[in-house]
Homo-oligomer: 211 residues x 2
């Protein structure tokens, strides 16, 4: 897996979710007995993973989640890829254990596989946005324009902040990358709930286009 | 809190979510270190609580969650009421700890308070449906009619199954109570994701009606 900027893709279109964890640890020294208190709120990112992948019977294969972890000396990104993701359960603790494993892998600027479908590298949001080759980019924010009726493309990347929201420099990066600012409704929601609503919107668009 | 069938309500309209946990323990003897493996999948119910109450900044006061726990000798129902709910955090573990506390309280057919905003009693779905005094009843199922455009009432009760879905006798009960069968989209989702989508739909209806 060395030498490539972005884990390969074999689906014609992919739903990508980038979540920025401003305090999230980049080292595996946090406790599964107190995830919110010891990991820089990795629990938020675990719930985002659940929202992005989980279906009643199985996981979404055409989804990729990219966790940008900024709570360490060196920024890291963890990628979870639906098509070959294994051992993912819906609960927070087992998801956090998978992230912990990925953070124990020595990270370089190239992707290294941790467990099946989970990759890690150094670098953060700038590197991710640079590496994006196709698809439209959306930034989820309270004052964005209404997502419904937008006829969202299936090949798209959605960027979400954690409980701290996004910083001004991050917003500037997203603007430079021509991200469209969208909102999922009239009430400010946690990132994991926003992802559920985006997936639902994409499911509906997909169904409509298949008809 | 003795002697009343249903915890009092002080909001003009309430969003009620009933989730039936077919294997969920009715006793507090499960481990917070392995919630999915020891509690009869209480993790599913914890995620439903998160979806029902959590906002970016605070919790929804006009929501009530009723967990029907069927994995014990005596059926129990735990009620969480937004208007006076305290100590609720978004992570699964602390939510499971609150449920554990409620299950340690001696339960009778009347509601008994555990911690602020959390009540417990014996009885299950039949007792809940009998006690419903107002508002429309909805049952969420894959083949139900499309929720969008239904102009959902704010005063309503939504019934959801866990990973096992609902049994035939439960479906018969719901039919007798004139539950409308609705669906939140083209893909079968976990109960917690359905609740996020229902809350979003209700937020949108509320905003539209306020205009």
């Amino acid at each position: 897996m060395k030498g490539i900027l972005w884990p390969r893709r074999s689906f014609p279109s992919m739903r990508n979710f980038i979540i920025v964890g401003h305090l999230a640890k980049t080292t595996p020294d946090f406790s599964l007995e107190d995830i919110p208190g010891t990991s820089g709120r990795m629990d938020i990112l675990c719930r985002c993973i659940n929202s992005a992948f989980m279906l009643s019977h199985g996981i979404r294969k055409d989804v990729r989640v990219l966790l940008v972890l900024l709570g360490g000396e060196v920024q890291k990104t963890v990628c979870l890829r639906g098509e070959d993701l294994r051992h993912l359960n819906p609960d927070e603790r087992t998801t956090a254990a998978l992230i912990k494993k990925a953070l124990a892998v020595p990270a370089t600027p190239s992707w290294t596989m941790s467990t099946s479908g989970i990759f890690v590298r150094t670098g953060g949001l700038p590197e991710l946005l640079e590496g994006m080759k196709s698809g439209r980019l959306f930034y989820l924010k309270e004052d964005g324009s209404e997502v419904r009726g937008k006829d969202l493309p299936q090949d798209a990347t959605f960027v979400l902040g954690d409980h701290q929201g996004m910083t001004e420099p991050e917003e500037a990066l997203l603007a430079a990358a021509r991200a469209e600012v969208i909102s999922v409704g009239p009430v400010s929601l946690h990132a994991d709930h926003c992802i559920v609503i985006i997936n639902n919107e994409l499911d509906r668009v997909e169904m409509k286009n298949q008809k």
